[in-house]
Point group: C2
Chain length 267, copies 2
């Protein structure tokens, strides 16, 4: 429930941009390529072009804003390592986390077509972030229609996840919501090669998780204890270990259709 970040949002000065440009040029894009290939087919040419996109890379500490509500950004953020989230703030410190993001995600790709941001974007853990100028992304879209369509598809999957979360917050029990987000994040991480054998890192606080699920940290804590008592998940919060995938899916009424991963990433 606490405000997520203090201080001012990050912005890139021209000199910094030049200084970092070289560093971010090619191998860094692996998570992005992997993610796009998990949802669409990319031609070799498009893959090359994505790799060649100019990018400024930065390490950002946990709980820093990458962009703020009402900003009019000129670049998109590509998450290279770490977890981030989008969020809205309401009166009296209420906060809703709208989405959780992992490496390969471009959480603000919508800003390519929507001038004003209607929410904030912040790191949850320390992150490496690549900044991609709108200009070069637009050019990419014009020159490589399959890249454009992969990006459009990505924004549509983003929306599909919102629908699923809305359903959870509106109509699932607290147990179900937690089970559901565990299943979802495990699959998202698995798609970019960051999870295996029903285990993955779980680096966010219970307060953050509550704000994502429309619950309080206290209630999240109690529900987690229930899930542990039922032997559905492992005992440590910092690493998610799913003991019983099927039971967790059943509890969360989880059906992965909405993730639209038509091409499963090779493990």
């Amino acid at each position: 429930m606490l405000p997520l970040a203090r201080g001012r949002a990050l912005c890139i000065t021209a000199s910094e941009s030049a200084a970092f440009m070289a560093a971010g040029s090619s191998a860094e894009k692996a998570p992005l390529i992997r993610k796009l290939e998990s949802i669409a087919n990319l031609s070799d040419a498009a893959r090359e072009a994505v790799s060649a996109l100019p990018m400024t890379v930065r390490v950002v500490e946990a709980r820093q804003d990458l962009a703020r509500d009402k900003d009019q950004p000129a670049h998109c953020c590509l998450l290279l390592t770490g977890w981030a989230c989008r969020y809205k703030l309401l009166n009296e410190g209420r906060r809703q986390i709208l989405s959780l993001h992992v490496p390969g995600d471009i959480p603000d790709s919508q800003s390519l077509h929507l001038r004003v941001l209607d929410h904030g974007l912040a790191t949850l853990t320390q992150c490496r972030v690549g900044f991609l100028p709108h200009e070069s992304l637009r050019e990419l879209c014009v020159r490589f229609p399959d890249a454009a369509s992969a990006l459009w598809r990505d924004t549509l999957i983003d929306a599909a996840i919102f629908r699923e979360w809305m359903t959870g917050i509106g109509r699932r029990t607290a147990h179900g919501r937690i089970a559901h987000v565990f299943c979802e994040m495990y699959l998202k991480l698995h798609a970019v090669g960051l999870a295996e054998n029903h285990r993955c890192p779980w680096p966010i606080t219970q307060t953050d998780l509550g704000d994502a699920l429309g619950l309080t940290n206290v209630h999240v804590n109690r529900m987690l204890q229930d899930l542990r008592a039922q032997a559905l998940i492992g005992p440590r919060y910092s690493e998610l270990v799913i003991y019983d995938w099927d039971a967790l899916c059943a509890l969360g009424e989880f059906d992965e259709t909405y993730l639209h991963m038509e091409r499963k990433a090779a493990a």
Copy 2:
């Protein structure tokens, strides 16, 4: 909470398609054009092309599915008159309504890029619906990049509305949620010329409204009585009359930024 529709989803046979094609050809598209122009600039050529899109028109009774979860549609639905919604069903008859749609909306425009539907689409009132073949929409996008970008922008605004609803369901009180959806629908209707002077038709049941807001019909009913008692809205449920717009916005913490109506429709 009740299942929304019975019987089978609508589909169009080849002969019907031919029979209706002529009828839906041009003037019918006024709400769509008006809606697209409320969110983006359209060139004259693009506007012409949209008007010339082949379309099959049908009158559909209230509470009928236009498309179902897991369908793989070959057309998009353009709502010409009436209200519709997208929804998900969970076990034990729980239902979440994901969005409310009014004339000019294409509720399933995402299906252009996402093969499988992850939710249902149904009428709430009697509707006139135009069916637009994916094929011709794709061709439109290729030939008129500004039409493509308007449609993409439309899907992004769709997602922005999901985010706002998620925030409401997760973090707003029942009063606030109802106030918020009233403000939103009034503006959406106003943008297509179907509302004026803080009045608009309100043709959906309290049960439907509850399913949209993550509440029960009983609780919706009680909250409506509160809003009436506070003289924020008019006494009749079938017509929304907003007595005190500012107070309603304040109660719902409503900020229209997320609707991204950069070009207000001329009244």
